[in-house]
Amino acid sequence: MRRRRFLTISCTTLGGVLVYSLDRKVSLLSANEKNKDKSLRIPLRFFDEGEALLAAAAASRIFPSDVSGPGAKEAGVVIYIDRQLAGPYGSDRYRYTQGPFEDAPAEFGYQGKATPREIYREGLKGLTGFDQLNAEEQDATLERIEASVFFSLLRQHTIEGMFCDPMHGGNADMVGWQLIGYPGPRLNNYDEIEKYYGQAFRPKPAGLREVSGHSVGASEDEK
């Protein structure tokens, strides 16, 4: 077994995040008073710490933390991406991967051989030192790779990590859902659907495990 790797993050940058310990027990770490000055060591499943810092920095430029609200950093997007890459999605378990691999126009979809894991590993090599740049330099770097498959995955996964159900490791404390007024899965809107024409109806968000009252399996944990 490879040596365990961790990402160390200051508690104050994360709203709260679900982490698994070695025996796969889930616990919620959050930036409450008790943890205020602490830093969190979050176990990584795919990235090494250097890669995680680069991916986190890039995701933060795609979905920045700024005057319009929290962003990728607070939502724990990098933790979400790490878990996706470690799971079946990252290894292309559900993609047709038989050859030959031919070039084709964009409208035929991604035709490459590389898996998401390989695309990230290679793509992050090209971002060496990115986390040390200032924001303007970071944006200029991303603009140069905007047309790459790596960037389009990073952008898509950043959105996923902002707005997924928190059971997937992103959208920590539902900061993404609160940002846009999305309530998560709601079992019943019968009385409300015709009641709020033209007015915002914003129920308090809740994740699937809270709504269903039990643990629901996430695809990234499939063996």
């Binding site: 031919e102 979809g109 997924c164 079992l187």
Partner: protein, 587 residues
């Protein structure tokens, strides 16, 4: 290979058509029926755990696994096809209930003239108005003949809606363009999301005729003729790509499975991946003897049968016949063969993405709660001065906006796709944007067809199906006019800004359109121009019946499931009442 005991009936595929046939034959005959479904079991009471956008709507957990089997695509017969490495432009389902579990449940009927497209067009505009490359032909069955079966389908599903034409009498509030119907919908229209109400008012102000979407998501509790009771829809917004956790949406596991499970003569075998239909040597008197499949543990099994129904998803019906060597593959160059011809895909696109000042509460809704209009469908508007034929339906629904798929849709003027400006606009417009969607007819062309791919194989080593498919000028011009009309409606709804559909160029496998792919085993009145007769009975093998969208000779604007189920009922009647007593070709 292990040979099992002979069954009277084998049905390949446990989706809408396969399970409807199993229910009908199970209830009306003493025949032993085996349904072979390659996917997993599913049940309505498990679906509350599926309300997760990432795993179901993005990672597509209910869909066919492309790693096991996909299709290849090219735009014309000169090109080299490449595989669709992920499904995207259409999403075939897998598991018991098939795509019927994760559909939206929009259920308009097809227009009467759709079934006689060739002769009606010729009569009204002259045959020269059909595109040069067209392969349009009549169905050989008319709307009037199908009407009783549509009615049975609507009672089965409990459709919620408002009739616009009751036995020829126009009814206020319904669709004035629809074909006559023998009775009112079983249940009244569903509740209406705000966005759909804006569409209704905007469309009316322009003189159009919006009407409630005929919905398989029930407006009120309903008990169908089989005694199946379902509750009203709660507008949770988890229809498309999800199963309905309370069965308010008609889906095979809530409507058909409870009836089938009580029939001792019907068995559903899961994990059965059918590879071939076994038949006697080719010839006009050929018979199918059964099917071979690989079971969940990898064993090859032969299941003999007296009657075989091919009821898998539309594309796989064609593929299994090609792999089995039943019928002559279509060759457009030589103009020979029929198997694989007339591939169509509903021309579906977001014509106008409209931005509003007020919030829409888009997370509430159902797959079919909304408004439609048919003013620009089929030949409901005059085409004599236009450069194309036919048209499509315009619709405004709230299917339940989920944030991963929906975040980031911002007015074009914003200009960026990431970073602070984009994020700010994304937050501002997340709940202030709605899409008006066009569902248009796709004419059949000689050059749009299917055959076996020479290069790529599935997990068993069997050739993948190859689609040769692209748009023609008729669809492109139709899309242009319908987009123009849709944008006018969006403005009348009070949209502050509108993103306009950029137009159809080449067929784009990345953009989800609809799962309404048709053709390949088309029905007709002659073995020269079709694969099966109007009962779905194969011209070369009288004990083989094909069910589903693969029978459609042209693609409709209206979603195909009601028509597919109506035709399945018609075949069930013919088999149960006539074929079983006297096997042979049905007239």
């Amino acid at each position: 290979m292990k040979t099992l005991r002979k069954a009277d009936v084998v049905i390949v595929g446990g989706g809408w058509t396969g399970l409807l046939m199993a229910k009908e034959l199970g209830a009306r005959t003493a025949l032993s029926v085996v349904v072979l479904e390659r996917g997993v079991p599913r049940s309505t009471d498990k679906y509350a755990d599926d309300m997760d956008e990432l795993d179901y709507a993005i990672r597509l957990r209910m869909m066919q696994d492309a790693a096991q089997e996909t299709v290849t695509l090219r735009h014309d017969a000169r090109g080299r096809a490449v595989p669709l490495r992920r499904y995207a432009s259409f999403l075939p389902g897998s598991g018991v209930g098939g795509a019927g579990e994760h559909w939206n449940g929009q259920c308009p009927r097809n227009l009467p003239d759709f079934f006689e497209l060739y002769s009606r067009t010729k009569e009204k505009y002259g045959v020269n108005r059909l595109p040069e490359d067209h392969a349009v032909q009549d169905w050989g069955i008319t709307y009037d003949e199908l009407e009783p079966y549509y009615t049975r389908t609507e009672r089965l599903l409990g459709l919620s809606g408002k009739a616009g034409n009751l036995r020829g009498q126009k009814v206020e509030g319904g669709n004035p363009f629809e074909g006559w119907r023998s009775e009112e919908y079983p249940t009244p229209p569903t509740k209406l999301p705000y966005f759909s109400a804006l569409f209704r008012d905007g469309a009316k102000s322009l003189g159009y005729h919006p009407y409630p979407v005929p919905a398989a998501t029930l407006s009120q509790a309903y008990t169908n003729p089989d005694g199946i009771s379902r509750p009203p829809c709660v507008y949770c917004g988890y229809c498309e790509r999800f199963g309905c956790m309370i069965g308010a949406k008609a889906q095979p596991t809530s409507v058909l499975l409870p009836v089938i499970e009580k029939k001792k003569n019907v068995t559903i075998r899961k994990g059965a991946w059918v590879r071939r239909l076994v038949h006697d040597a080719a010839g006009s008197e050929s018979r199918v003897r059964g099917v071979t499949y690989v079971d969940a543990t990898g064993n090859e099994i032969f299941q003999p049968a007296e009657i075989v129904f091919l009821a898998s998803w539309t594309l796989n019906n064609t593929r299994l016949l090609l792999l089995s060597g039943i019928g002559e593959p279509y060759n457009p160059g030589a103009g020979k063969g029929t198997l694989g011809r007339n591939l169509t895909h509903q021309v579906s696109f977001a014509a106008a993405t409209a931005f509003f000042a007020k919030p829409l509460n888009r997370f509430m809704g159902s797959g079919a709660s909304g408004m439609l209009l048919s003013d620009f469908d089929g030949d409901n508007f005059d085409h004599s001065q236009l450069s194309f034929l036919r048209g499509g339906l315009l619709e405004a629904r709230n299917t339940g906006a989920h944030p991963i798929g929906e975040f980031g849709e911002v007015p074009h003027r914003v200009g960026s796709r990431w970073g602070s400006t984009w994020k700010k606009a994304g937050i501002e417009y997340f709940d202030r944007v709605g899409r008006i969607v066009v569902s248009g007819e796709h004419l059949a062309y000689k050059g749009n067809y299917m055959d076996l791919d020479p290069t790529y194989k599935d997990r068993c080593g069997d050739a993948l199906l190859r689609l040769t498919l692209n748009w023609r000028e008729n669809e492109r011009r139709m899309a242009e006019l319908l987009t123009e009309k849709t944008v006018e409606i969006a403005r009348a709804m009070g949209a502050t800004e509108v993103n306009t559909f950029p137009g159809l160029r080449n067929y784009d496998s990345r953009r989800y359109q609809s799962t309404h792919v048709q053709g390949g085993t088309i029905l007709g009145t002659s073995p020269e121009s079709s694969v099966v007769n109007t009962h779905g009975q194969h011209w070369q093998a009288a004990n083989l019946f094909v069910l589903g969208g693969s029978l459609f000779p042209t693609g409709g604007g209206a979603n195909p499931t009601p028509t597919i189920l109506a035709m399945t009922y018609r075949t069930a009647d013919a088999v149960a009442e006539r074929y079983v007593k006297r096997p042979g070709p049905l007239a």
